[in-house]
């Protein structure tokens, strides 16, 4: 059993697909799924990239994507709460 970039991309695209499904249903639960999928793509690129000059860049981008996902989730919750009242 081995792991390569293809398997990581498939799992990340599954998460992105679940996020898109939740977004199609107008659910805020889409945001964490989308953020997790994007972060997994970034970490996978950092792990399996052909050029090994700067392998930490993908992990850094994954951290940034996750933080932005949290910020977007908070904004979305605030927007939904404002729209409900």
């Amino acid at each position: 059993m081995s792991l390569s970039f293809a398997q990581v991309l498939i799992v990340a695209s599954l998460l992105l697909g679940c996020g898109a499904l939740a977004a199609a249903r107008r659910l805020l639960a889409a945001l964490p799924s989308l953020a997790a999928g994007a972060a997994l793509c970034m970490a996978g690129v950092a792990r399996f990239a052909a050029g090994r000059q700067d392998p930490d860049t993908g992990r850094e981008l994954a951290v940034l994507v996750l933080v932005l996902g949290l910020a977007t989730a908070i904004l979305g919750a605030a927007w939904a709460r404002g729209g409900a009242h």
């Binding site: 059993m1 081995s2 792991l3 390569s4 970039f5 293809a6 398997q7 991309l9 498939i10 799992v11 695209s13 599954l14 998460l15 992105l16 697909g17 679940c18 898109a20 499904l21 939740a22 199609a24 249903r25 107008r26 659910l27 805020l28 639960a29 945001l31 964490p32 799924s33 953020a35 997790a36 972060a39 997994l40 970490a43 950092a46 792990r47 399996f48 990239a49 052909a50 392998p55 930490d56 992990r59 850094e60 951290v63 940034l64 996750l66 932005l68 996902g69 949290l70 910020a71 977007t72 989730a73 908070i74 904004l75 979305g76 919750a77 927007w79 939904a80 709460r81 409900a84 009242h85």
Partner: protein, 188 residues
């Protein structure tokens, strides 16, 4: 005069060690199993979060997504990103999961939703084809570096080379927290 070309060259040392040791292979296998377990939990949690009708089930799915995503990232050797995923995705689940919040309808009705769903299916199919058919270099054996908690290196990149991007993300989080607090205070 001593020119650059006259400098004595350092002797080249040949590394006769084997490229892949038994311990490294065992670590690769363990990390692969950890990645697949985390991916399974994350995908199941994302599906439950997307399809559940009730708030508690959706919250449980999002918490499963947070834990599974963190475990999968740890399996990829990104320890700091795994901790960040646990905090950020768990925080997102607690913020939006329990109330079962949904976005207000923006118009367009079911046709727009079906169009989005079809686009999502097409996007997933395209990504899967690219992932299976594409060629990517490396594997765990040749990827370089063991699984670790690379907080120092990522911190240097975040606050040294890409400080502007880090500040932008921090500002976005700050604005989100302020807007969330303002919306929370406006509740009757």
């Amino acid at each position: 005069m001593l020119g650059a070309s006259e400098l004595p060259a350092a002797p080249i040392e040949h590394d006769d060690r084997p490229e892949k040791s038994t311990g490294g292979a065992r670590l690769d296998l363990v990390l692969t199993i950890v990645f697949y377990l985390g991916a399974l939990l994350a995908v199941a949690g994302a599906l439950v979060a997307a399809l559940a009708r009730r708030g508690p089930a959706r919250l449980a799915g999002m918490l499963g997504l947070a834990v599974g995503g963190a475990v999968a990232l740890a399996g990829l050797g990104a320890g700091f990103a795994a901790v960040t995923a646990l905090v950020c995705l768990g925080g997102s689940a607690l913020v939006i999961g329990g109330a079962g919040a949904s976005l207000p309808a923006a118009g367009g009705g079911d046709q727009a939703a079906q169009l989005n769903l079809g686009a999502a299916v097409l996007l997933f199919a395209a990504l899967a084809v690219v992932a299976v058919g594409g060629a990517a270099a490396g594997s765990f054996a040749t990827g370089g570096g063991a699984a670790g908690f690379e907080a120092t290196a990522v911190g240097r990149l975040l606050f040294g080379r890409d400080a502007l991007a880090s500040e932008a993300a921090g500002a976005a989080l700050l604005v989100a927290l302020a807007a969330g607090a303002a919306a929370w205070r406006q509740r009757p």
